[in-house]
């Protein structure tokens, strides 16, 4: 949902959106008078505003980074904004492999690997199933599918607290509560609306003749999906993967409830490190651990740029 990012979410969900451009067009006003670019007071004001805003947005990142390289006594002397005097890597080592995350004191590396093992299947499965759903919805329109999709989309706006307890009971009955399969299954459930939406909209933008031709050539449901549609889906798979990796990695509440003691994701362990430890707060270790936890989605964002932005609006539905 881009340039038509502008379209109302639900409407774009239900209608066929135009294909998403990766680049935003230049400003409408620029097309009018692009040559005049003198530094008037008004333009200085514009840059001043933007630079101040940028400083505000960068401040937490800056503070996070400088804090993580300072020894504690330097932090206690004040000057949260100051650059580190005695530059140290010890907080990072401590955060990765020494800090207490509850009972054990082995750093948040355990949480990192837990998050990796949760994120991999919780990305691949929802994408596959979302692709099949979108394909079926766009080309085959099985009976009742629209209604099911409507329920899913409405569900995407509902806080998980409404569904969480029954899901816990069902998982417990099935004997998988507090395990890797449980958390993956729950991620699949809560990712399905957005993943289905992404693929449905993408396939809706493909020409119907493509499908008709494949049908006339005798292709069945799965054959057309695997041989015609899936190979054409690479761009949307990339968008979906970026969204899903970010979403699962950043999840807190589902991991807390469903993953179980042995699979707690990094966000949960990070919160344990900082909020449930007793004694003096080690701000430098805390910030190193926070950066480590935020590193993967941030790297994905800075590296993938426009692809991230492209998925963001549809992904925002998840919130």
């Amino acid at each position: 949902m881009t340039p038509p990012i502008a379209q109302p979410v639900i409407e774009s969900m239900m209608e066929q959106p135009p294909p998403l451009p990766l680049r935003l067009p230049p400003p409408a006003r620029a097309r009018q008078r692009s040559r005049r670019r003198r530094l008037t007071p008004a333009r200085i004001g514009i840059y001043a505003f933007l630079l101040m805003a940028a400083a505000f947005f960068l401040l937490p990142l800056y503070v996070m980074i400088v804090t993580s390289f300072k020894p504690m006594d330097e932090i206690r002397q004040g000057g949260i904004l100051a650059l580190p005097h005695a530059f140290t890597l010890a907080p990072w080592r401590q955060a990765w492999s020494g800090v207490c995350t509850g009972a054990a004191c082995e750093g948040i590396r355990g949480g990192f690997w837990n998050s990796v093992w949760i994120t991999l299947p919780s990305t691949i499965l929802p994408i596959l199933i979302g692709a099949v759903n979108g394909y079926a919805l766009s080309f085959w329109r099985p009976r009742g599918a629209r209604l099911l999709f409507g329920i899913l989309l409405a569900g995407a706006f509902v806080p998980v607290q409404v569904m969480i307890y029954p899901l816990v009971r069902v998982m417990a009955l099935a004997g998988i509560f507090g395990s890797l399969p449980a958390i993956v299954l729950v991620h699949l459930v809560f990712a399905m609306p957005v993943m289905t939406l992404l693929f449905r909209n993408y396939y809706a933008g493909l020409p119907d003749e493509l499908f008709q031709a494949a049908r006339i050539d005798g292709g069945g449901f799965w054959r057309i999906f695997l041989q015609v549609m899936l190979p054409m889906s690479l761009p949307i798979i990339v968008v979906a993967a970026i969204m899903q990796v970010t979403g699962v990695w950043n999840d807190y509440i589902l991991g807390l409830v469903f993953a179980g003691r042995d699979n707690l994701p990094m966000t949960v362990e990070l919160n344990n490190v900082i909020n449930t430890t007793t004694g003096t707060r080690q701000y430098n270790v805390n910030m190193a651990a926070t950066i480590l936890t935020a590193l993967l989605p941030l790297a994905l964002y800075f590296l993938s740029g426009r692809w991230f932005v492209r998925g963001i609006a549809a992904g925002a539905v998840k919130g």
């Binding site: 230049p26 006003r29 009018q32 701000y283």
Partner: protein
Amino acid sequence: MSLRRFQCAPHLAILPMALVAIVAYLGAALWTLRISLTGSRTFPSGRFIGLAQYQRLFDNERWMLSLHNLALYGVLFIGACLLIGFLLAVFIDQRVRGEGLFRTIFLYPYAMSFVATGLVWQWLLTPGDGIDGAVRALGFPGVRFDWIVQQDMVMYTIVIATVWQASGLVMALMLAGLRGVDPDIWKAARLDGIPAWRVYTRIVLPMLWPTVATVLLLLSTAVVKLYDAVVAMTQGGPGTASEVPTKFIMDHLFLRSNVGLASAGAVVLLVPVLALLAPYAYARSRKEAA
């Protein structure tokens, strides 16, 4: 459509979707509704007590405080995100150099989890060692910025942190909307000598109504779902001053063994969500009828 006669494979293929929609969404929500009508404590019980849980809920000071906090938070968060997002989009739209860089800077917080966001801001706002102390060290000895430990100010700190996280998204959506505006409008406005700010507020903003509606829907959903950021930043404290409904529900489900009361709270949370979705569903059905 003869090529789309009834077939087995498509119906089998959407079985997972059917299961998720009917069991995990609809079924679970109805089950929660049912539990909310019973006297369930640690485990669901079948003992129906009518609306007594709702009575208890609205007699519960903590719940009422959490609703009050959510309302305050919602108004400020949505207002600030809209204002900042729109301003950033408009300023970026002025043919500035380094547009891509600015966009990247304004949007990167959105890639961070609510937990990380909450923890960073918790540190920034720590009285004494945080910004508070830094400002005093800069030569303003009288300044106190300890909102995070003040019961009547703590919700504002959560607003600050989450606005920092989310306003970049609003900027991105608004900017895309601005770029969709017909250039002829600018041409016409310039011929008529209308100042740019008036074109933005009087002509462009009304044209962006669909974008604003989208943003409003996204932000209000985020408000109702607010949980991680509060847990990470204040754990609902100091005391219960930053309690929010989602946290109330989670605490009563998993810590205080009061499943019935928690479920009643969850059902109450459904109300604003349905109220938000209703206009969209209505607009859609009107469109289809036409």
